[in-house]
Amino acid sequence: MQISTRTSNDVHIVSIAGSLDSGTSPEAQKSLDTVLTSAKNVVLDFSELDYISSAGLRVLLGVAKKLRASGGKLGMFGLNQSVREVFDISGFSSILPVYQSEAEALA
Protein backbone atom coordinates (compact mmCIF):
# COMPACT_ATOMS: atom_id res chain seq x y z
CA MET A 1 0.00 0.00 0.00
CA GLN A 2 1.15 3.53 -0.78
CA ILE A 3 -0.37 6.71 0.54
CA SER A 4 0.22 10.14 -0.90
CA THR A 5 -1.38 13.46 -0.11
CA ARG A 6 -1.91 16.57 -2.19
CA THR A 7 -4.01 19.63 -1.63
CA SER A 8 -6.47 21.48 -3.81
CA ASN A 9 -7.51 24.80 -2.28
CA ASP A 10 -8.37 23.83 1.30
CA VAL A 11 -9.06 20.17 0.55
CA HIS A 12 -6.56 17.42 1.37
CA ILE A 13 -6.71 14.71 -1.26
CA VAL A 14 -5.32 11.43 0.06
CA SER A 15 -4.59 8.74 -2.48
CA ILE A 16 -4.47 5.16 -1.18
CA ALA A 17 -2.98 2.64 -3.60
CA GLY A 18 -2.80 -1.14 -3.22
CA SER A 19 -4.82 -2.99 -0.61
CA LEU A 20 -6.41 -1.65 2.55
CA ASP A 21 -6.56 -4.72 4.78
CA SER A 22 -5.46 -5.94 8.20
CA GLY A 23 -1.82 -5.71 7.17
CA THR A 24 -1.89 -2.17 5.82
CA SER A 25 -4.63 -0.56 7.94
CA PRO A 26 -2.42 0.42 10.91
CA GLU A 27 -0.15 2.39 8.59
CA ALA A 28 -3.11 3.94 6.76
CA GLN A 29 -4.64 4.89 10.09
CA LYS A 30 -1.42 6.61 11.13
CA SER A 31 -1.13 8.56 7.88
CA LEU A 32 -4.76 9.63 7.97
CA ASP A 33 -4.51 10.68 11.62
CA THR A 34 -1.62 12.92 10.66
CA VAL A 35 -3.63 14.42 7.81
CA LEU A 36 -6.59 14.98 10.16
CA THR A 37 -4.52 17.07 12.56
CA SER A 38 -4.41 19.85 9.98
CA ALA A 39 -7.13 19.02 7.46
CA LYS A 40 -10.72 20.10 7.71
CA ASN A 41 -11.88 18.77 4.38
CA VAL A 42 -10.64 15.43 3.10
CA VAL A 43 -11.18 13.63 -0.20
CA LEU A 44 -9.98 10.04 -0.53
CA ASP A 45 -8.74 9.02 -3.97
CA PHE A 46 -9.35 5.28 -4.43
CA SER A 47 -8.52 5.07 -8.13
CA GLU A 48 -5.45 2.95 -7.34
CA LEU A 49 -7.06 1.00 -4.49
CA ASP A 50 -7.15 -2.72 -5.33
CA TYR A 51 -9.36 -4.05 -2.54
CA ILE A 52 -10.57 -3.20 0.94
CA SER A 53 -11.48 -5.52 3.83
CA SER A 54 -13.30 -4.77 7.09
CA ALA A 55 -10.04 -3.61 8.68
CA GLY A 56 -9.90 -0.89 6.02
CA LEU A 57 -13.57 -0.03 6.46
CA ARG A 58 -12.87 0.45 10.17
CA VAL A 59 -10.22 3.05 9.34
CA LEU A 60 -12.62 4.90 7.01
CA LEU A 61 -15.37 4.85 9.61
CA GLY A 62 -12.96 6.38 12.14
CA VAL A 63 -12.05 9.14 9.67
CA ALA A 64 -15.73 9.82 8.95
CA LYS A 65 -16.56 10.05 12.66
CA LYS A 66 -13.65 12.40 13.40
CA LEU A 67 -14.48 14.71 10.51
CA ARG A 68 -18.13 14.75 11.44
CA ALA A 69 -17.23 15.66 15.02
CA SER A 70 -14.94 18.48 13.88
CA GLY A 71 -17.40 19.80 11.30
CA GLY A 72 -15.15 18.86 8.38
CA LYS A 73 -16.20 17.32 5.11
CA LEU A 74 -15.31 13.93 3.66
CA GLY A 75 -15.66 12.61 0.14
CA MET A 76 -14.26 9.69 -1.84
CA PHE A 77 -14.04 8.68 -5.47
CA GLY A 78 -12.44 6.19 -7.86
CA LEU A 79 -13.87 2.98 -6.33
CA ASN A 80 -13.36 -0.09 -8.50
CA GLN A 81 -16.09 -2.73 -8.76
CA SER A 82 -14.76 -4.80 -5.84
CA VAL A 83 -14.39 -1.85 -3.50
CA ARG A 84 -17.87 -0.69 -4.44
CA GLU A 85 -19.26 -4.17 -3.78
CA VAL A 86 -17.70 -4.18 -0.30
CA PHE A 87 -19.16 -0.70 0.31
CA ASP A 88 -22.60 -1.90 -0.80
CA ILE A 89 -22.57 -5.09 1.28
CA SER A 90 -21.44 -3.27 4.40
CA GLY A 91 -23.89 -0.43 3.95
CA PHE A 92 -21.02 2.07 3.70
CA SER A 93 -22.33 3.31 0.34
CA SER A 94 -25.23 4.90 2.14
CA ILE A 95 -23.30 6.44 5.03
CA LEU A 96 -20.15 7.65 3.30
CA PRO A 97 -20.21 10.23 0.50
CA VAL A 98 -19.04 8.41 -2.64
CA TYR A 99 -18.59 10.46 -5.81
CA GLN A 100 -18.10 9.50 -9.45
CA SER A 101 -15.04 11.64 -10.06
CA GLU A 102 -12.47 13.85 -8.39
CA ALA A 103 -14.13 16.95 -9.79
CA GLU A 104 -17.45 15.91 -8.28
CA ALA A 105 -15.85 15.10 -4.92
CA LEU A 106 -14.20 18.52 -4.84
CA ALA A 107 -17.27 20.44 -5.94
Binding site: S19, D21, Y51, R58, E85, I89, S90, I95
Partner: protein, 140 residues
Protein backbone atom coordinates in the same frame (compact mmCIF):
# COMPACT_ATOMS: atom_id res chain seq x y z
CA UNK B 1 -6.88 -30.21 -14.35
CA UNK B 2 -6.47 -28.97 -10.79
CA UNK B 3 -4.10 -26.34 -9.53
CA UNK B 4 -3.52 -24.70 -6.21
CA UNK B 5 -1.34 -24.60 -3.15
CA UNK B 6 -1.32 -25.54 0.49
CA UNK B 7 0.59 -23.67 3.16
CA UNK B 8 0.77 -23.38 6.92
CA UNK B 9 1.01 -19.96 8.45
CA UNK B 10 1.64 -18.86 12.01
CA UNK B 11 -0.46 -16.45 14.04
CA UNK B 12 1.61 -13.38 13.29
CA UNK B 13 0.53 -10.25 11.42
CA UNK B 14 2.64 -11.04 8.34
CA UNK B 15 0.75 -14.30 7.77
CA UNK B 16 -2.07 -12.72 5.83
CA UNK B 17 0.38 -11.02 3.50
CA UNK B 18 2.15 -14.34 2.87
CA UNK B 19 -1.08 -16.12 1.95
CA UNK B 20 -2.35 -13.20 -0.06
CA UNK B 21 0.89 -13.06 -2.07
CA UNK B 22 0.70 -16.80 -2.81
CA UNK B 23 -2.92 -16.52 -3.86
CA UNK B 24 -2.32 -13.45 -6.03
CA UNK B 25 0.46 -15.30 -7.84
CA UNK B 26 -1.84 -18.27 -8.47
CA UNK B 27 -4.68 -16.00 -9.60
CA UNK B 28 -2.53 -14.06 -12.00
CA UNK B 29 -0.86 -17.19 -13.36
CA UNK B 30 -4.27 -18.60 -14.22
CA UNK B 31 -5.81 -15.40 -15.47
CA UNK B 32 -8.54 -15.17 -12.82
CA UNK B 33 -10.61 -12.01 -13.06
CA UNK B 34 -9.63 -9.12 -10.82
CA UNK B 35 -13.07 -9.35 -9.24
CA UNK B 36 -12.62 -12.97 -8.14
CA UNK B 37 -9.05 -12.37 -6.98
CA UNK B 38 -10.06 -9.34 -4.90
CA UNK B 39 -13.06 -11.09 -3.32
CA UNK B 40 -10.89 -13.99 -2.22
CA UNK B 41 -8.18 -11.67 -0.94
CA UNK B 42 -10.80 -9.94 1.20
CA UNK B 43 -12.16 -13.27 2.48
CA UNK B 44 -8.67 -14.49 3.35
CA UNK B 45 -7.94 -11.30 5.26
CA UNK B 46 -11.19 -11.57 7.22
CA UNK B 47 -10.85 -15.22 8.14
CA UNK B 48 -7.15 -15.28 8.92
CA UNK B 49 -7.43 -12.28 11.23
CA UNK B 50 -10.68 -13.61 12.70
CA UNK B 51 -9.12 -16.94 13.63
CA UNK B 52 -6.27 -15.18 15.37
CA UNK B 53 -8.51 -12.97 17.44
CA UNK B 54 -11.21 -15.53 18.34
CA UNK B 55 -9.41 -18.82 18.53
CA UNK B 56 -7.10 -17.78 21.31
CA UNK B 57 -9.12 -18.82 24.37
CA UNK B 58 -7.60 -21.89 25.95
CA UNK B 59 -5.61 -23.48 23.20
CA UNK B 60 -3.80 -21.07 20.96
CA UNK B 61 -4.34 -21.11 17.24
CA UNK B 62 -0.65 -20.99 16.56
CA UNK B 63 -0.92 -22.19 13.04
CA UNK B 64 -3.49 -22.46 10.35
CA UNK B 65 -3.39 -24.42 7.14
CA UNK B 66 -4.62 -22.68 4.02
CA UNK B 67 -5.40 -24.74 0.97
CA UNK B 68 -6.50 -23.20 -2.31
CA UNK B 69 -7.78 -25.33 -5.16
CA UNK B 70 -8.59 -24.05 -8.57
CA UNK B 71 -10.55 -25.85 -11.27
CA UNK B 72 -12.45 -24.79 -14.39
CA UNK B 73 -15.55 -23.64 -12.53
CA UNK B 74 -14.47 -22.42 -9.14
CA UNK B 75 -11.88 -21.53 -6.54
CA UNK B 76 -12.11 -23.43 -3.25
CA UNK B 77 -10.36 -22.21 -0.10
CA UNK B 78 -10.05 -24.54 2.90
CA UNK B 79 -8.86 -23.09 6.20
CA UNK B 80 -8.01 -25.52 8.98
CA UNK B 81 -6.86 -24.80 12.52
CA UNK B 82 -6.76 -26.76 15.76
CA UNK B 83 -7.98 -23.98 18.04
CA UNK B 84 -11.05 -24.07 20.27
CA UNK B 85 -14.27 -24.88 18.39
CA UNK B 86 -15.34 -21.69 16.70
CA UNK B 87 -17.87 -21.29 13.92
CA UNK B 88 -17.23 -17.89 12.32
CA UNK B 89 -20.57 -18.08 10.52
CA UNK B 90 -22.52 -18.60 13.73
CA UNK B 91 -22.57 -14.89 14.60
CA UNK B 92 -25.41 -12.44 14.15
CA UNK B 93 -25.48 -10.41 10.96
CA UNK B 94 -24.50 -6.83 11.80
CA UNK B 95 -26.92 -3.97 11.27
CA UNK B 96 -25.62 -2.32 8.11
CA UNK B 97 -28.29 0.39 8.11
CA UNK B 98 -26.97 2.37 11.08
CA UNK B 99 -25.63 5.89 10.63
CA UNK B 100 -21.98 6.88 11.01
CA UNK B 101 -22.55 7.94 14.63
CA UNK B 102 -24.47 4.83 15.68
CA UNK B 103 -22.35 2.26 13.94
CA UNK B 104 -20.04 0.21 16.11
CA UNK B 105 -16.56 -0.20 14.72
CA UNK B 106 -16.03 -3.74 13.51
CA UNK B 107 -18.29 -6.77 13.15
CA UNK B 108 -18.48 -6.66 9.39
CA UNK B 109 -15.80 -9.11 8.31
CA UNK B 110 -17.80 -12.32 8.32
CA UNK B 111 -20.77 -10.61 6.74
CA UNK B 112 -18.47 -9.62 3.87
CA UNK B 113 -17.20 -13.18 3.48
CA UNK B 114 -20.77 -14.52 3.40
CA UNK B 115 -21.78 -12.09 0.70
CA UNK B 116 -18.64 -12.20 -1.44
CA UNK B 117 -18.40 -16.00 -1.61
CA UNK B 118 -20.87 -18.30 -3.36
CA UNK B 119 -20.71 -20.96 -0.65
CA UNK B 120 -19.36 -20.95 2.89
CA UNK B 121 -19.34 -23.80 5.38
CA UNK B 122 -17.93 -24.69 8.77
CA UNK B 123 -17.40 -27.99 10.45
CA UNK B 124 -15.57 -29.31 13.49
CA UNK B 125 -13.63 -32.33 12.27
CA UNK B 126 -11.17 -34.42 14.29
CA UNK B 127 -10.44 -31.60 16.72
CA UNK B 128 -10.04 -29.03 13.96
CA UNK B 129 -12.05 -26.07 12.74
CA UNK B 130 -12.55 -26.48 9.00
CA UNK B 131 -13.89 -23.56 6.99
CA UNK B 132 -14.56 -24.01 3.29
CA UNK B 133 -15.22 -21.15 0.88
CA UNK B 134 -16.22 -21.52 -2.75
CA UNK B 135 -16.20 -18.79 -5.36
CA UNK B 136 -17.58 -19.55 -8.82
CA UNK B 137 -15.47 -18.29 -11.68
CA UNK B 138 -18.41 -17.57 -13.94
CA UNK B 139 -21.36 -15.58 -12.70
CA UNK B 140 -24.86 -16.87 -13.24
Amino acid sequence: MRHGFRMSVGAQPGAVREVSAAFTELAEGHGLSADVRRSINVALDELLTNAHSHGQTGSDVDSMTVEVKLDQESVTVILTDDGMPFNPFGLDTPDTTLSVEERPIGGLGIHLVNQLMDQVSYERRDGHNVVVLVKQLVNG
